[in-house]
Symmetry: C2
Subunit: 196 residues, 2 copies
Amino acid sequence: MGTPLDDAALDVIFRSARTQNKWLSEPVSDEQLHTLYDLMRWGPTSANSSPLRIVFVKSPAAKERLEALVLAGNQPKVAAAPVTAILGYDTQFYELLPRLFPHADARAWFVDKPDFAEAPAFRNSSLQGAYFIIAARALGLDTGPMSGFDNEAVDREFFPGGRVKSNFPCALGHGDPAGLYERLPRPAFSEVCSIV
Amino acid sequence: MGTPLDDAALDVIFRSARTQNKWLSEPVSDEQLHTLYDLMRWGPTSANSSPLRIVFVKSPAAKERLEALVLAGNQPKVAAAPVTAILGYDTQFYELLPRLFPHADARAWFVDKPDFAEAPAFRNSSLQGAYFIIAARALGLDTGPMSGFDNEAVDREFFPGGRVKSNFPCALGHGDPAGLYERLPRPAFSEVCSIV
């Protein structure tokens, strides 16, 4: 159905894009954050559940709070990036389903079943994390998704109340090519795929 | 760093793209499956771990085996789609890390720690599932990611040996617009995002 993207666009979203480690001072405006969310939110999730919740850490004070909760290697990234988004998931995402998925009583599939709701919330918020990365690139921004932080401490500090759990943080801005490492290889098709 | 995509390209990968429920007979070639994997594999994963494993179900015999393991509502989709990809994750993804992430002994972070390795494998294979969806759209294909199937039975049937676990299946091909439902709403920025 769709028209394929040209090679330059495929380069921007996949082939030439790189995870950034150092950041230029060029800022990211609140308007850009709205544009980014308004694009990425159209990516599909099961039953349109859209469990992703985002705290954009932008002020110096908020950056200091986050820096204290990430691994030492990630602290300079949080300090230098114009924005670091904390991507989390609402463990009670099903409360929005009567509006987001009105065809069925989808809320009833999950309510009062926290163990059953956990995997879909984690899976779908991770899908949305990838949409976030690709949408940012498509809008001309660079990303720096990170591992290595104290999830429980981040939850207490940025998602108080216990309903939202952090998935992973992702720096956002304009990367400094001086901070790039050599590009790493990916598995070949024959190693990880089969056609049956 | 990147050049923003034009509006038409943003429509193809996010704004106009739809999850398809009915499929045209136009086939998907093995070459297209290779092209799709060779594009999506560049999406970032933590420590370049790339845990995604894919079985492309394409032959009539394999489709019959998969149909028996999905919910009734998904059976006609598997039957009609030219290909349904079963996206899974290698629970021993760390065995590739000496090559994929040679900077550090990253294998040692995960080996013999199956509980610790589970969440990164699930998170990163879900990110890669989203890259799969976006890359397919970028190449002019439609997708139909599904929930509702018997993960354990699919694992036994398509990932024998116990090392790879299924995440979710995704139909692939050219969608029949006649099968589309009305587009569902997404949460507004103010409902799910904050800037601090």
